[in-house]
Each structure stands twice: as C-alpha cells, then as structure tokens.
Symmetry: C2
Subunit: 233 residues, 2 copies
Amino acid sequence: MKIEVVGLDADDTLWHSEDGFHDITERYLDLVGPYADGRDRADVMSNLAAVERMNLGHFGYGVKAFTLTMVEAAIDVTDGRIPTTALPAIVALGKELLARPVELLPGVAETVPRLAETHRLLLITKGDLLHQERKIEQCGLAHHFEELEIVTEKDPDTYARILHEHDVSPERFLMVGNSVKSDVLPVLAIGARAVHIPYEFLWAEEHAEHDGTVPELRSITQLPAWLDAVESD
Amino acid sequence: MKIEVVGLDADDTLWHSEDGFHDITERYLDLVGPYADGRDRADVMSNLAAVERMNLGHFGYGVKAFTLTMVEAAIDVTDGRIPTTALPAIVALGKELLARPVELLPGVAETVPRLAETHRLLLITKGDLLHQERKIEQCGLAHHFEELEIVTEKDPDTYARILHEHDVSPERFLMVGNSVKSDVLPVLAIGARAVHIPYEFLWAEEHAEHDGTVPELRSITQLPAWLDAVESD
C-alpha cells in the first residue's frame, strides 16, 4: 500500500548528535574524576546517569538540561570537594555542544531530496526548541519537509496529533528513526509503520526492544528502495 | 473592520511569570551577596544581567537558561569564592520556578472563553518548550485556542509565518501581549495590529518603546469591548 507521509527523526537519524554527548561526557569524567576520591570512572558515570534520570522530569531533554545535570552531579559525586573554579569548564562543555556545527549522516544529503519527490515528509524531533531550530536551519534540508515538529515527548498521543494535523491515516504513515523507544514503539501503538535505523551510540534513557518484526536498515540510503518494495506489495 | 484571529501572548499576559523570576533573583542575591566581597546588591544584580545577556545567544529564553546563568554569574561575581556547596541551592531555585503552579491573571479565566466565541484564537509564546507546554496544559484554557505556537523568537518573520499558516491577512490579525518588543513592534512591522497590556514587572531584555499610538489596556477584561468598538468602526 502506498505510504503518503514519511516522518523522519533528526538527532542520530539525519545528523550526528549522541556522539557529541558521548564526547562531553568523557571530558566531564576527566574533569570531575580527580575530585571524586575513592570512586572510579564507572562510579562517576553511573552517578551522572542517576542525576540525569532524576532531573528528566524537571528539565526534559536537550543540552541545557544535560549541562545543569553535569553541574549538579559534579558537586554530588565529589561531596562538594570539586572547587567552584572548576565548574565553569563544565558549563563551557554545554556551550560547546550547543555551538557544534551540524554534521549530516552519510547519504542523508542525497536521500532526503529523493524521498521528498515521492512522499510528503515531516521532521519529528524532541529536545530543546532553540537548539533544534538552529540545527534544522543549518542542515540545509528544511525546505524538503512539509513541517518541522519539535515535540517534548514522542508518545502515541503526540504521533496521533501530528497525523491528525496532517490529515494522514496511520496505515499511510511511516516513521523512520534510530530510537526504538521514541521512533518505533509509539508509532506501532497507533497502528502506523516504523523503520529502525540504529546509530552508533544510544542514550541509555532511549533504550527499548521491539519484538523483532520491525524492519531495520543499515542506512537511510536504503530507504527509497525499501519504500518501493513495500508499496508495490 | 472585522478582526478574524486574535493572538495572545502567555507569560505575563495570561498568567504570572516575571514575578517568579523577580522572586528567585532576590533569593539569588541573598545567597550570593555574602561571598561577593566589596560588591553591593546592585553590583551583583548588574553582573547577573550582564551574564544573562551574554548567554542569550547560547541558551535562549526560559528557566533552564536562567538557572545556568545564575550558576555562572555566582562564580563570576564572587571570583570563585562562593563555595561549591552553596551552588545546589541556586539550581534548586530554577527547579522551584519550573514547578510553580500556573496562576492566571485576573479576568483571564472569564475573558478567554468569551473571546473564543467571537474570534479564532492563537496562543503565541516563546521560551522553553517543555515548561510552556506544561503551563498551557495546566491553565485549563488550551481548548479555546486553534493552535499553540511556541516559538524561539517573536520577530516579524515568525509572525508572518504564523499568519500564513493560519491563512489570515495582517489587517485581520490582532496580537495582544505585555511586551512592546515581542508582542507589539514586530506585529506592526508586518502591517497587523497590536494591543499592549502591561504587566507589573518587565524583564530588562524585553524593554522597548512604541510611538504612543498603540492601544494600551489595563486588563484583558477590557479586550472584548475594545474589539467591539474597533470592529463596528
């Protein structure tokens, strides 16, 4: 059956993102480690993850939330022994990540325009509004999308609202992304389809499993052929 | 001439917001003052405003951005003398502000449903996506609005895009809000109309002047009568 609308996730589907968090996390561990007496790197890391999880309800997703989490965790994991003067370097990690230029994943620059010739495209992403808008603007692909949907949570209600707004029925909607939790399961829950394209790194909070029946592609470059095959079924 | 669509600002137009920033700023000054040797309260305040202005390009608007600014400013204005253990109290101010229940301004609960009977309503606000969505959900008025537009910047381009999306011409659009800079001037710039309803506090970064010809109301409760008068002209 013909798919009318393709939703594409952005971070780690169109461009690199999680590798940046991975990188500043390593540098956070380097900065904080010397003051975390008696705790090894894995300990400092699991403290950071715990503070992040605790803060998710307060701060939501994105770099600003993660920067506040790093500040809190650095004080917590060192029992206040990290000197105040070491903290601006942690805030600077967040600013650096916000300022990082967008780097498209391989094949995205060619594949998105090709998909736009055959399907209505929506970009559906969560995270910080300002940061996401900047990345969308920088990526040079915004004009291929019918709309840019920046949402706070990718749950079934969110997808149902988006499909309703764009007047497309679930069986004619396909979501494509790197997160089973955000891009696959809630989409299946409303009766639409999903394709999973894993990325090298996955944030622990995004981890989820599907039942093994969800199509998985190695790269977005395989998507046009996949669509062709499915639609001629 | 009949106005078709009324855009309403949210923070300090529908509900209290700036008073919360005002309150946590006072408490920031109480916390940081004792470590800011040789600087008086006004000095500490102007340092905070300077760091905030510097960070606007990095972090944008909203409570998370302001919390990061408070952390940076506290270290800066005390030349690192504030102890690390005093900083979690500053992050806690931000969490407290995020968790503060929405408190509608007087007359809003009655006036918004009344306006919705006669006009298509848009809620147009900037700031943090998660925080704004929560406030909109909590306020109990969301269903009166045709759409909730959470934007990163209220400039003429943003308003032009919104009017285009909602298929309304500038002469049939009215924007109502407390900020001359965000709710009045960019709206006049695209040939639409604006009504200014000042709030008790105004963030310094939002300060701007209009030429004196913009209608100013004391309260949103005066808006239905104002619309009646203008539309029967």
